[in-house]
Amino acid sequence: MAEDNNDQMVGLGKAHIPTVIADELHIVYRVNGAKTGKGSATSALSRIIRRGEERGVRKVHAVRGVSFTAYRGEAIGLIGSNGSGKSTLLRAIAGLLPAEKGKVFTDGQPSLLGVNAALMNDLTGERNVILGGLAMGMSREQIRERYQGIVDFSGINEKGDFITLPMRTYSSGMAARLRFSIAAAKDHDVLMIDEALATGDRKFQKRSEARIRELRKEAGTVFLVSHNNKSIRDTCDRVLWLERGELRMDGPTDEVIKEYEKFTGK
């Protein structure tokens, strides 16, 4: 029944072409040195010496058997309480986290919106724009073309020439704005956004929401992780609700959000 509604939202004329298929996906993190019990050096040593699989390693089963199919033109919201596996699921779809069991099939290369990890605080904003662009796989020419656009969009230079200062001198809001601007400069086939809407001041939030709508038009499929039910309602037409790594509900935005709000007691 959910799918019928979906069809109407996507537009009946459009072909139903899958872009992302998750098939019984399981993701397990392995954490070193977090084994419960005695933490003494001797017990660590005995764990190393003792034979058997996974010595001294604790497993965290973050995603448990999630299956769904996403189609071209859909904007899918991912909701669930903290630690329910939303970000992990996104990373697995992007092929950044290897699956323990099951598979993810994708059309083209899905990309996660975010370059935070590639940027360096000790470098100037200018060099970070170039570095971030290259890290996302843009060519030098593409970056040169879009450089001014990125800087203008971030609004970093509105209060003086800050782009030539090291990023560690930026306020946290300024840094977040520059990061979002760099990340949003690239076009994506399958785009995944992890709570990116919450950065910066009110003015910048509006600007980034507009940019995300633009990206949505260009991208085939969009995934959005957010705790803000309003921004999910504004941007998504289908919602996946994850709880404890399991897919609890999958359907049109209104239905799922209503259930979710009941669940969280709002």
């Binding site: 139903h16 099939f105 994708t106 000790d122 890290a135």
Partner: protein
């Protein structure tokens, strides 16, 4: 449950994926495809290494001057201890020994820091690996490229020391280029191997300094291996001299220092140098690529 009301009904996910030409996300590409992808990221690799290099000293007051000052101070410390206090310059003139020592320290540091950076290339950059898509070999390669650039700064100091002790620029200085190229290949291969090992066992970062120090003292950084081991069986000296670190150091000294002639080099030295470089670089690359799809796992 999520199958659409269409002719696709009843297809399994795998069949559906095959029908629309979807590929498995995060699968390991073939070796040639991998090399191709890596070549496509060459600008990123270079920019990342330069960024790391600049970021290193950006908070210091003297700034990038430390690129040259650090190796210079390093050479001074070794000279103080091994040249003046321990007098390890047995069988060598002072004009030869000091450039000999400084060359040894710099060339070995190049390999040492490439290995250390390699160990942490994946395990220390998990955030990057889990956020963006690129061939993971970019990271260890980028780190050894950073060390190469660091060595080029050290070479400035080295040239000054060589000239200061009477070795003037001559044709044999051109040999520095092939030596550097071969050592860079060797280091990159080693960094790739260490990166894969380090991603599985981060503890290596604690262990490697001791391994590297042993290797350094065994490679004749501050003494001449044949002279020091005169009273021991010849094969010990041979093994030490054929180890890659000693080979690259000796070749660099031969190229740079006037009084360090070919009689100090083991036979077939260029062949050995090239052999080590190609073997470790190719082997390391394939070894690293084999685990490509597993690097994000923590």
């Amino acid at each position: 449950m999520t199958a659409p009301p269409s002719p696709d009904d009843g297809l399994s996910p795998a069949e559906l994926a095959a029908k629309y030409g979807l590929s498995v996300s995060g699968a390991r590409p073939g070796l040639f495809e991998y090399v191709h992808q890596l070549w496509g990221r060459r600008h990123f690799i270079l920019a990342f290494s330069q960024a790391k290099l600049t970021a290193q000293y950006s908070q210091a007051k003297l700034g990038q001057l430390w690129q040259v000052a650090t190796p210079l101070l390093n050479a001074l410390v070794y000279f103080l201890i091994f040249g003046l206090i321990l007098k390890a310059d047995r069988g060598m003139e002072r004009e030869v020994y000091i450039p000999f020592l400084v060359t040894g320290v710099f060339v070995f540091t190049f390999t040492q820091s490439s290995v250390m950076a390699g160990v942490r290339a994946i395990s220390g950059n998990l955030g990057l690996v889990r956020a963006l898509h690129f061939p993971r070999a970019s990271l260890p390669i980028s780190f050894s490229l950073q060390q190469l650039q660091q060595l080029l700064f050290s070479m400035i100091v080295l040239f000054v020391v060589a000239v200061g002790f009477g070795s003037y620029p001559r044709l044999s200085w051109l040999l520095i280029l092939p030596v550097l190229a071969l050592q860079f290949l060797f280091n990159t291969g080693l960094a790739l191997i260490m990166a894969r090992l380090g991603s599985k066992t981060p503890d290596l970062a604690q262990l490697m300094p001791f391994v590297m120090r042993t290797w350094m003292y065994a490679s004749g950084v501050m003494f001449s291996i044949p002279v020091m081991l005169k009273e021991h069986p010849a094969w010990i000296g041979d093994i030490l001299q054929w180890n890659p670190a000693a080979i690259y150091m000796d070749l660099m000294r031969f190229a740079l220092i006037d009084g360090y002639g070919s009689e100090n080099l083991p036979p077939h030295v260029w062949l050995v140098a090239a052999g080590w470089a190609l073997l470790v670089a190719a082997g390391g690359f394939v070894y690293f690529w084999k685990a490509e799809e597993r690097y994000g796992r923590g």
